[in-house]
Amino acid sequence: MSTLLWLVTVLGGIAVAGWVFRFAGQTVTGNAPRFRDMPYGVAFGYVLGVSILAWAIWYYFQPVTTEQGLPNAGVMFFRWGVQGLIIAMIAAYVFRFLGRLIGTANSKKLFRAMPLTAAFGILTIIIYAIFAIFADAIAPYGQEQIFEQANVLPGGDPALGGDPAHPLGTDQIGRDILSRLIYGAQNTVGIAFATTCLAFALGATFGLLAAVLGGWLDQLLSRAVDVLMAIPSLIFALLLMTIASVWASEWGIPLTIFMVVIIAVIDSTRVFRLARAVGVNIVVMDYIEAAKLRGEGMGHLIFREILPNATAPLLAEFGLRFCFVFLTIAALSFLGVGIQPPLADWGTMVRDLAPFINFAAFAPLAAVTPLLAAGAIALLTVAVNFVVDWMLHRSSGLKE
């Protein structure tokens, strides 16, 4: 109850402060239009924003250990979060700065109009790609290598239960977490990428074909896609995975391959919808009519006239689809029916390491590992989404 009372008091205080702020602004600036026409809600928003900022700064400078000598985990996590954010911003800024200096005239121009979020996204994607491709060279140990010491805490400080040989510690059966995180990039991202490509090949081909040909083929495909899309995708994937798991053991084919196919097919329905919509919009254009009346064949129509105009929206969709596929695979793995051990995979790692979170209060480092795996997933999808958001914004801006 006291929490609620406290919250109401603070909000009330801000409400009063907002009014005072606007009034003061009006008086001091001699009724400048900025303050005169300011709605109360905006004044309230300013004060609220400043209050939150002030609290954040105050909290950041709290001591990391309590008076009893225990670690103050909340402050530690907050500091890590803020520091991570600042580092990300600086990195993105530097990356964008370099991009403006180096490269062709076109790429320089691209970087000049790029928001920081998109620069951060591109930088992150590049780093992930490097980790995924060169995992074997970067990772200190193999992904299946088991060490004697299980449950070593991260940090590498023996006094705190760490081991310098395993900077991020080991998991419950003694595998090096850092190595598994790095291999996870290869496995999880690689599989998601392959799945997305497959989904795209299916969806885009049929979608564009349906748009160009129209008629019964279009009707048939569209209705089939309607039905498949009426089943929530994660649920459908889980159902099919159940069945696939039986087949997989029957035939001796890795379940992962089934998963790739299943998710690709389910996701290709979404790609189909978009590709068809984009295709239909292009097909009604006069230049397509001109090409048809010239007597051009289907190949020229699709590859020369339609596809070049569909790449921008399809590319953006590829980013979104990749995120979706990636999250679906992570969720399936987290639920225990996705990528199978001994392959290192972030979703499975989160599930395996999750119990460590409960030790956060007295051993903050222990809680870091499951969050690192989950954070690795989140970071990539956030990065891709930032880039896609910028791409969409750019293409919509160009149309006007």
């Binding site: 099919l240 069945i243 039986v246 999250l327 969720a331």
Partner: protein, 329 residues
């Protein structure tokens, strides 16, 4: 009005048809399994007699079409069949205990609905308000921060959000319990407290989606010439919003809400597992792991039905709020 009624009836019929086709798809998918259920259930312990007995119990000796219709008939009348776990128990031990699928699902379905409603109660007003604010103050600091925050929240996997919330609201500051072990006979207050963290997790994800969609809908609306006209008539900003924007925004906003509630359905699965919440999603995942086909089938159909229903609702409500359709020429 006649016209609208006709369109709505058409949509309803289409929704029903879709559901029917979906049920066929699910049924066929399950029947793609190798061998037959009887062997699958008994595994290594199969003796010819027990296999034959289960086959008879399940009606596997009948044709696929007959089985489909009896299954469908059962679904409609609430008889969801017998779960494998229970059958196994009966045939191997000769007992009659255990619950039918319907008995197993019913309380969990209620729990899931409770979770979804709590989430909707928090998320819908929050998302719509924030979305409208972001649209009104677009390109301000608030809008940009909101854009980055919602984008991040959409991109993060549900379990990431869930563990972050557990870390801060359960472990470091013990405000809510991290395990949502709900059982019968709890008071409403206790239930609500236990449901809070899963509901908050879902809220974070759904709110982000809903807010972005609301913002986009309102922005496209505010750019329309009739809003400019209203402003040029000297109407107060409040009245422009309430009188001119809102009646037209209703359709897109309702659409957004219904679509996101449909999205919630997929979201509950992971969240229920994280918080060990005894809902239908958890049951679904457990059944998937032990390959309890009848339960998987039933859960799948329930999820699909809810999903189709919500999408249908979105469709119908947006038809109803379209003045062009309500007042034909």
């Amino acid at each position: 009005m006649q016209n609208v009624l006709k369109i709505i009836l058409q949509r309803l019929a289409l929704g029903l048809l879709t559901l029917l086709v979906v049920s066929i798809v699910i049924f066929i998918a399950v029947n793609l399994l190798p061998g037959d259920f009887a062997e699958l259930i008994l595994g290594q312990a199969a003796t010819p007699e027990s296999v034959a007995s289960i086959r008879r119990d399940l009606g596997l000796d009948q044709s696929m079409v007959t089985r489909y219709f009896s299954w469908l008939g059962g679904m409609v009348t609430g008889d969801l069949g017998t779960s494998f776990a229970q059958l196994n128990f009966q045939t191997n031990l000769g007992g009659t205990g255990g619950k039918t699928v319907a008995e197993q699902i019913a309380p969990r379905f209620a729990n899931t609905m409770f979770l979804a409603s709590v989430t909707a109660m928090i998320a819908v007003p929050l998302a719509v308000t924030l979305g409208i604010l972001a649209a009104l103050y677009r390109n301000t600091v608030f809008d940009r921060v909101a854009n980055i925050a919602t984008l991040s929240s959409i991109s993060s996997p549900e379990f990431f959000m869930a563990y972050i919330l557990i870390l801060f609201l359960a472990v470091l500051n013990p405000i809510f319990p991290s395990l949502s072990n709900i059982y019968e006979g709890m008071t409403f207050g206790e239930k609500l407290e236990k449901t809070m963290l899963p509901a908050l997790t879902l809220t974070l994800v759904v709110t982000a989606h809903m807010m972005r969609m609301t913002r986009a809908a309102i922005i496209s609306l505010l750019a329309s010439p009739y809003i400019e006209m209203a402003r040029l008539k000297g109407i107060s900003p409040m009245r422009v919003i309430v009188k001119h924007a809102l009646p037209n925004a209703l359709a897109p906003i309702i659409n957004v809400i219904a679509l996101n509630l449909a999205y919630l359905i997929t979201g509950v699965v992971v969240v229920e597992v994280v918080f060990v919440y005894p809902g239908i999603g958890q049951l679904f995942v457990d059944s998937v792991k032990i390959r309890d086909i009848p339960v998987v089938q039933a859960c799948c159909l329930i999820f699909a039905a809810a999903y189709i229903l919500l999408n249908l609702m979105a469709d119908i409500l947006s038809i109803l709020s379209n003045p062009r359709l309500r007042h034909p020429k």
